[in-house]
């Protein structure tokens, strides 16, 4: 239950602020909070509303439609992506409002995919650059999980693991039967014990409809309140249409439409675009900025998100407990024996009735009486989600649709997506393995639906300005005071849910911007030394809770 007690600061319309941040989601929310805490004048824009969790959200599947980016986008390619509720948020908190909140870290190998496997790309930073930020964000959310998490760089979590629901039990049963290591009760950004004014999880299962309880972390409840208390302004229902290029190849502000459709210009000494993997490239392309390499919009990635559904003789009632509460990363790394690069994770999912009906339509072709029949068995089904790494490809991309505009008159995004050989092999193998686990759990019927999860890439970071859009601090290669701070900077994506990593990157970018200070506003010189890690920028109440790190 979030209450914003400080009256929000309002900057004078003509005032030149230090930073304009476009999009207050996972990345933008963390960055906004830190810049405000460091004393910068900062305004965050979000196209959606500033949610009042008690008044605006419902404990209902259909009633939560408003949380997603529902404005039109075009989707195409050989394997066109479903967008909307599947992978987008609109409103303060962004996607973290309706993420399931799985928060595994990336593995060290994720940052060196090209060096290790000869595919994809290397990151300009390593796991060890991000590690302290992972630890920090895991405390700030905080993340609940086991005291020892064995995969990637082994570590423990500050909050204890959650109890299992029916789906988690099935995953544990199936995995242990097959001798596959499996992790129960996390890692998820959901409180397993209350903290300050946030109560702990009540296991009602409506995580991806927005957590009214306040137990699930979203930047709306974890970072935005502190940002406002420290003097940041958030302009909600404000759609940024353009980042404006001024003199000397530097940007000088953003144009935006306010909630009444009036257009304004906000002057800023630097601009950060944090609109996620479709809106960020759309804004950059519509502004004609940062694309000397031609890579803006390219290397868009989703993860294979096949849902495997099993029917059990005994009831499961998978609507109870958070959808996210157990997983295995046993197949995360490349195994040459499998005949493809990279790997996948298997996680619990808990579709509510409408989502489940849609899955049954896709997986079994159910309709009519058959749909009624299978739905009457809803309580007997459990669902696992595959989370498989799909490699970046230049042809998977976001472009501007030339012939279509949204209701603000801004050209919309067109998303093209195809699977390639390695992706298809990986999906086929991962799907089979997930189905095996479901059988081993004791299912008497198993079906699956092919789908995708998450969206990253499309403004990737790299050392080479000819093949990437931003450097390792999110600064565009072309414009010295224009930054990107969201999932679109990722060169590869691993098979971990991206939210935590987006926040960790944002915290690192914040440290960099704060350390550079006024130099960002006045100089084109790029200091590429990593910033000093700061732990004094966390929201209040981050410390003094949870277990000490092991």
């Amino acid at each position: 239950m979030q209450t914003i007690e400080t009256p929000m600061r309002r900057f004078n319309p003509d005032e030149e602020v230090d930073y304009a941040i476009v999009g207050v989601g996972a990345g933008g929310g963390v960055l906004l909070q830190r810049l405000a805490r460091a004393g910068f004048h900062v305004v965050g824009f979000d196209a959606g509303p500033f949610w009042d969790t008690e008044r605006d959200w419902v404990s209902d599947e259909k009633g939560s439609h408003q949380l997603y980016w529902n404005d039109e986008r075009i989707t195409t390619g050989k394997h066109p992506l479903a967008l909307g509720e599947n992978n987008s948020g609109k409103g303060v908190g962004g996607g973290t409002v309706h993420w399931a909140s799985f928060t595994p870290r990336f593995h060290p190998s994720d940052f060196r995919v090209y060096s290790q496997d000869g595919v994809g790309a290397d990151w300009p930073i390593s796991y060890w650059d991000l590690k302290p930020y992972y630890e920090l964000i895991e405390r700030e959310l905080p993340v609940a999980g086991p005291a020892y998490y064995p995969w990637g760089d082994p570590h423990g979590y500050p909050y204890g693991p959650h109890p299992m629901g029916g789906v988690g039990d099935a995953l544990i049963r199936g995995c242990t039967k097959l001798g596959i290591g499996v992790c129960a009760g996390g890692p998820v950004g959901i409180l397993s014990a209350s903290r300050a004014d946030r109560p702990h999880c009540i296991y009602r299962g409506f995580c991806i409809q927005g957590c009214k309880v306040g137990a699930k972390a979203s930047t709306l409840v974890t970072h935005v309140p502190d940002a406002l208390a420290k003097g940041a302004e958030i302009r909600d229902r404000s759609m940024v249409s353009r980042v404006n290029l001024g003199n000397n190849r530097r940007v000088n502000g953003v144009s935006y439409f306010d909630r009444d459709g009036r257009e304004h210009f906000q002057k800023a000494k630097a601009v950060v675009v944090a609109g996620y993997a479709i809106e960020t490239p759309r804004l950059l392309l519509n502004s004609g900025l940062a694309n000397s390499s031609g890579t803006v919009g390219r290397y868009l990635m989703v993860q294979a998100g096949n849902v495997v559904l099993g029917r059990f003789d005994q009831p499961v009632r998978m609507y109870k407990a958070p959808p996210a509460h157990a997983l295995t990363e046993e197949f995360y790394e490349t195994d040459p024996k499998r005949g493809f690069a990279r790997g996948f994770a298997i996680q619990t999912v808990g579709p509510l009735p409408i989502a489940f009906a849609k899955q049954m339509m896709a997986a079994k072709g159910a309709w009519g009486w058959g749909m009624r029949r299978i739905m009457m068995d809803y309580n007997h089904w459990a669902a696992f989600g595959l989370l498989g790494e799909i490699l970046p490809s230049a042809d998977n991309r976001v472009e501007i649709a030339t012939d279509q505009k949204d209701h603000w008159g801004i050209p919309v995004a067109k998303v093209t997506f195809n699977l390639y050989d390695n992706d298809q092999k990986l999906i086929a193998f991962g799907k089979r393995k997930t189905i095996d686990v479901m059988w081993a759990a004791g299912a008497e019927e198993v079906v699956q639906e092919s789908r995708y999860a998450h969206l990253v890439g499309a403004a990737r970071m790299g050392r080479n300005p000819e093949t990437s859009v931003v450097d390792s601090f999110g600064r565009t290669h072309d414009v010295a005071n224009l930054f990107v701070c969201d999932g679109s900077v990722m060169p590869t994506q691993g098979s971990a849910n991206p939210g935590l990593t987006i926040m960790a990157i944002a915290a690192r970018t914040a440290d960099y911007l704060i350390e550079q200070g006024d130099a960002i506003f006045s100089s084109d010189r790029r200091d590429m030394r990593p910033p000093k890690f700061r732990r004094d920028l966390s929201p209040p109440d981050t410390w003094g809770h949870g277990m000490p790190a092991l």
């Binding site: 905080p142 609940a144 086991p146 005291a147 500050p158 909050y159 204890g160 693991p161 109890p163 299992m164 988690g168 039990d169 099935a170 544990i172 049963r173 995995c175 242990t176 499996v182 129960a184 009760g185 409180l191 397993s192 014990a193 209350s194 903290r195 109560p199 702990h200 009540i202 296991y203 309880v213 003094g544 809770h545 949870g546 277990m547």
Partner: protein, 304 residues
């Protein structure tokens, strides 16, 4: 001296200290993982873990040294009792803070902090406190002529000043049957309540889950009767207590088996111990029975 006499005369400070130590260690283990489930989200959640360690140490010290029993054990016990009262308060607060608060009493008692657990934790401290007032089995101070407790006692006439019997003296001489029967009653009430709602949470899927729920009121009744008269304390109370001890033992077995039968079984030992049926809980119920047995063996408080 036979065991019965030792107990009746309250010459078991060593053994009661040891018992306080053992039960403190057991409940310390339980509170450690229960609070781990609660993520140690408040720093105060460390206190019972630390205190249970301290109390176990003090109990052990009390076993070896009378001085330790009277000083360290008594001090630690009082501190622990205070902590368990504080814990009780925070647990009630915790239930109230959950969404729906007391409008959803069952849900929030079941899913919130276990409200009576801190008081059960206090049992060990209570034992420690008792022990600190008792005599040791090799004490010889009773060879001295006791000071008369009654004003009309003949000894008063030959010069001894009258000294009314104090509760310390009762304790020292093992006359605290009523006191311990009251403790048995509370203990039965609390752990019976815990058994009731946690088995309710589990939908009473096994018939055996009803047994502590049925036995707890029986033990409670017997203990209350034991407060009222000596005869019940020596017949009803030990019978009900013995049943509770047996039931606790059986429950311990079922709980341990329940942990093994969870998904993943012993391949996920820690997780399943933490989230499976609480394996120490039946032992706490048995402990209530044990208090009852002990009470039945004691002498009753004398009136001054």
């Amino acid at each position: 001296m036979s065991l019965a006499v030792t107990v009746r005369e309250g010459r078991f400070q060593r053994w009661l200290s040891l018992m306080a130590a053992v039960s403190s260690a057991a409940s310390g283990l339980e509170v450690a993982y229960e609070h781990y489930k609660g993520s140690y989200s408040r720093r105060i959640m460390y206190t019972p873990v630390i205190l249970s360690g301290a109390l176990a140490g003090a109990g052990l010290a009390g076993f070896f040294s009378r001085k330790a029993a009277v000083t360290i054990l008594r001090g630690t016990s009082i501190l622990t009792l205070a902590d368990s009262a504080t814990g009780f308060y925070f647990h009630i607060l915790g239930v109230k803070r959950k969404p729906g608060g007391w409008r959803l009493p069952m849900t929030n008692i079941v899913m919130g902090p276990p409200i009576f657990a801190p008081l059960l934790f206090g049992t060990a401290a209570y034992l420690g406190l008792l022990a600190s007032f008792m005599r040791r089995d090799n004490d010889r101070d009773d060879l001295l002529l006791p000071k008369p407790a009654h004003a009309k006692h003949w000894a008063a006439r030959i010069g001894y000043a009258h000294e009314p019997i104090t509760w310390e003296q009762d304790l020292r001489e093992g006359r605290f049957q009523k006191n311990l029967a009251v403790a048995t009653a509370f203990s039965a009430l609390f752990s019976g309540f815990e058994a009731w709602y946690s088995h309710y949470k589990n939908n009473f899927r096994y018939k055996a889950q009803w047994t502590p729920v049925v036995l707890a009121p029986v033990l409670l009744g017997a203990a209350i009767a034991g407060v009222k008269d000596r005869k019940s304390a020596q017949t009803l109370l030990p019978a009900a207590s013995a049943l509770a001890i047996v039931d606790g033992g059986v429950g311990f077995f079922y709980h341990a088996r329940g942990v093994m039968r969870r998904p993943g079984g012993m391949r996920k030992p820690l997780y399943n111990v933490i989230y499976g049926p609480p394996i120490f809980a039946p032992l706490l119920f048995a402990a209530a029975g044990f208090l009852g047995v002990l009470a039945s063996m004691l002498g009753r408080e004398k009136k001054s």
